[in-house]
């Protein structure tokens, strides 16, 4: 990957900051979760940070990103403020969905997050709809559909690819393939190869989703191609889920065991930054500490925010 070497320091530091924010926030959620302060199911992204960071670096606030149930990583990478996320998990009125959504339903219109859904598959079509709106109004934003490997089993996935191609829409499909649907491995749920199947409809590439520079480079190509009017693109990112499907516990599937040197996107990027001299070890430590501070702040914010007061909106 020759392009890795040419990454600018600020881009690389953005990627690291974003991944660390996702990681450290997720670890903090996992630590707090057993205390029941967050009454909402959580699907954590630990291990998968590179996909969120590497793709979202190329997106603008105008691009509209539609997520499924595993929201925190890509939402933070897209710009959702930490305070808004944390307050939503705490069920507070200052949360990004005012306490009406919870972990699986995040909204941030200012940062191009028009919502996310807990029903697997369906939100893929919404990103296509955003692309259609961009095309019909001759605006320059992308629709982005973000989903897991198992969402490729849902019929709506194919219907969405077909229509995006027929209409040549500016849509980026991002498959965050962690190899599992809950505890069901990919081979048990998919007879097809995801990239090769997507390639029946549009340009599709598979990338190592634990290597943020690889994701960054591939996403750059895909986004550029879309922005220059080339129609939809498919990015298939193979990554790893370190946690159980839901909740605060580590994944205990032996076949899915983690090897940090091989699997950790943060470890790998930090090694690259140090080795290439783009950042010093001390800087990296400082960054981690700074992020920890923002998380402390977000939690204080959430804890001190009011609960929503029940009311019915008249229809």
């Amino acid at each position: 990957m020759p392009r890795n070497k040419t990454i600018q320091r600020d881009a690389a530091m953005w990627l690291l900051r974003t991944m660390r924010t996702i990681r450290q926030t997720s670890e903090r959620i996992a630590a707090l979760y057993p205390t029941n302060v967050m009454e909402t199911p959580v699907h954590l992204c630990i291990g998968q940070e590179a996909v969120a960071a590497g793709v979202c670096r190329h997106l603008t606030d105008a691009d509209k990103l539609f997520l499924g149930h595993r929201t925190h990583g890509p939402a933070l990478a897209k710009g959702l403020p930490l305070r808004s996320l944390m307050a939503e998990l705490y069920g507070r009125t200052t949360g990004c969905s005012h306490g009406y959504g919870g972990s699986m339903h995040l909204l941030d219109l200012a940062h191009g997050l028009p919502g996310s859904s807990a029903i697997v598959g369906g939100s893929i079509a919404l990103g296509v709809g955003a692309g259609l709106a961009a095309k019909m109004t001759a605006q320059n934003f992308l629709g982005v559909s973000w989903f897991g490997d198992a969402a490729t089993n849902a019929g709506v996935f194919y219907e969405s690819l077909n229509f995006a191609t027929l209409q040549k829409l500016p849509v980026l499909f991002v498959c965050e393939d962690n190899g599992y649907s809950n505890v069901m491995p990919r081979a048990a749920h998919s007879a097809h190869d995801i990239q090769s199947l997507a390639a029946q409809f549009m340009p599709a590439c598979t990338v190592d989703g634990t290597d943020v520079l690889a994701v960054y480079a591939a996403a750059q190509d895909a986004v550029d191609a879309i922005r220059t009017g080339g129609g939809p693109q498919f990015l298939h990112c193979r990554t790893k889920r370190w946690m159980k499907h839901q909740g605060h516990e580590r994944c205990d599937l032996p076949e899915n065991a983690v090897d940090v040197a091989r699997d950790c996107p943060i470890h790998k990027l930090e090694a690259f930054l140090r080795d290439s001299g783009l950042a010093s070890a001390a800087e990296l430590v400082a960054l981690a500490r700074q992020i920890e501070g923002s998380i402390d702040d977000a939690i204080r914010f959430a804890e001190s925010s009011p609960f929503p007061s029940p009311h019915l909106v008249e229809v």
Binding site: L126, A133, M136
Partner: protein, 348 residues
């Protein structure tokens, strides 16, 4: 916003201009698209030469009319995504039955989206579905389902019965910032009526009295409203006929006021009977106007089974103005008929 100047309390004056229900739908859509560049139409066969039974023929802005593959579920999501990105889609289905393919999107997505985010984002989209009946359409091509959709919070349900209503309610539905399921009956398409040429919207949630009377309140929507009107006129019945026009929001006040006056209620609901729109009307009226009721309220609708195909079976399955008239006459006579849905299938 181009819509704010259309006050829904304003009644466009009737000018004697007669057009069909179908033409009224077409005109309403065409004018909405002309008024607001955010409005577009999408649907299977929406762009073909048949123009959705003529209701979308020769629109002024064909560049905003999109045909789709047989992918109703994803297409509903596409419409939703477009609505969330600043457009105002009108998604059309040639048959209500095809909407069932899209129920995940309609119920889990479209209906829930505003609620899940505390209405920080709005979903201005219209889903048009056309109700079929007869010519052996059968069980999979004849469903109505207005009561079924109305059960889902977050969906408005609109069922125009006249050309005037078709245009005004379609424009109002497109103007609305929340999802509207708009159900048209194919058997009304040819009906002619007075329709002003100007743009006008009718309020969603306001019933319309189609006939004034003192002895019995009949609530009926869509084709059933027209059949009830025929029954009343042909037999000179002293009936207060109320067409709710929108199943949801439901103008229960107008219905209750009428029942307070007549003391008797019949709901004619061309739909499956169990827990449908008619049941809701009966339940609400009983809760609110209990002491005014002089007879047990009654419901007339479909039998509780799928539509058969053979013509003789269809003609037994469906209500007709004649059958409605017979039940109305008995209720007016004070008979406590038990309008058994099932019994009506066996022609007597």
């Amino acid at each position: 916003m181009p819509w704010s100047k259309f006050d829904s309390t304003y009644s466009a004056p009737l000018t004697g201009r007669q057009i069909s229900y179908c033409a009224a739908l077409r005109e309403g859509l065409d004018q909405a698209m002309g008024l607001d560049p955010r409005v577009f139409a999408i649907g299977l066969d929406a762009d073909d030469k048949f123009g959705v039974f003529g209701s979308m023929s020769n629109l002024t802005h064909p560049e905003r009319v999109l045909g789709t593959p047989i992918s109703e579920n994803a297409m509903t999501g596409v419409a939703l995504g477009a609505a969330l990105s600043g457009l105002r889609p009108v998604h059309v289905h040639l048959r209500v039955d095809f909407m069932l393919v899209a129920m995940d999107q309609i119920v889990n997505y479209v209906a829930k989206w505003e609620d899940m985010f505390d209405r920080q984002v709005r979903v201005p989209m219209v889903i048009r579905g056309i109700v079929g009946r007869g010519w052996g359409c059968g069980a999979q091509h004849s469903q109505t389902l207005h009561g079924w959709f109305a059960q889902i919070p977050g969906l408005k349900v609109v069922t125009p019965s006249t050309p005037y209503d078709a245009k005004g309610l379609l424009l109002a539905s497109i103007a609305d910032d929340s999802p509207v399921v708009f159900l048209e009956h194919r058997w009304l398409y040819k009906n002619m009526g007075d329709v002003p040429a100007e743009i006008y919207t009718l309020p969603l949630g306001k019933a319309h009295r189609l006939h004034q009377g003192d002895r019995l309140t009949v609530v009926a929507n869509s084709l059933a409203a027209m059949h009830a009107l025929t029954a009343i006129e042909q037999h000179g019945l002293d009936v207060d006929l109320i067409d709710p026009r929108t199943i949801k929001p439901l103008d229960i006040d107008t219905i209750v006021d009428s029942v307070r006056h007549t003391g008797r209620l019949l709901v004619v609901d061309y739909d499956f009977p169990f827990g449908g729109f008619a049941s809701e009307v009966v339940a609400q009226v009983t809760e609110r106007a209990f002491t005014s009721l002089r007879l047990p309220p009654q419901r007339l609708g479909f039998p509780d089974r799928g539509m058969p195909s053979s013509g003789v079976l269809e003609r037994a399955y469906y209500q007709t103005p004649e059958r409605l008239a017979a039940v109305m006459q008995r209720m007016i006579a004070g008979e406590s008929v038990h309008a058994d849905h099932q019994a009506l299938v066996v022609p007597s």
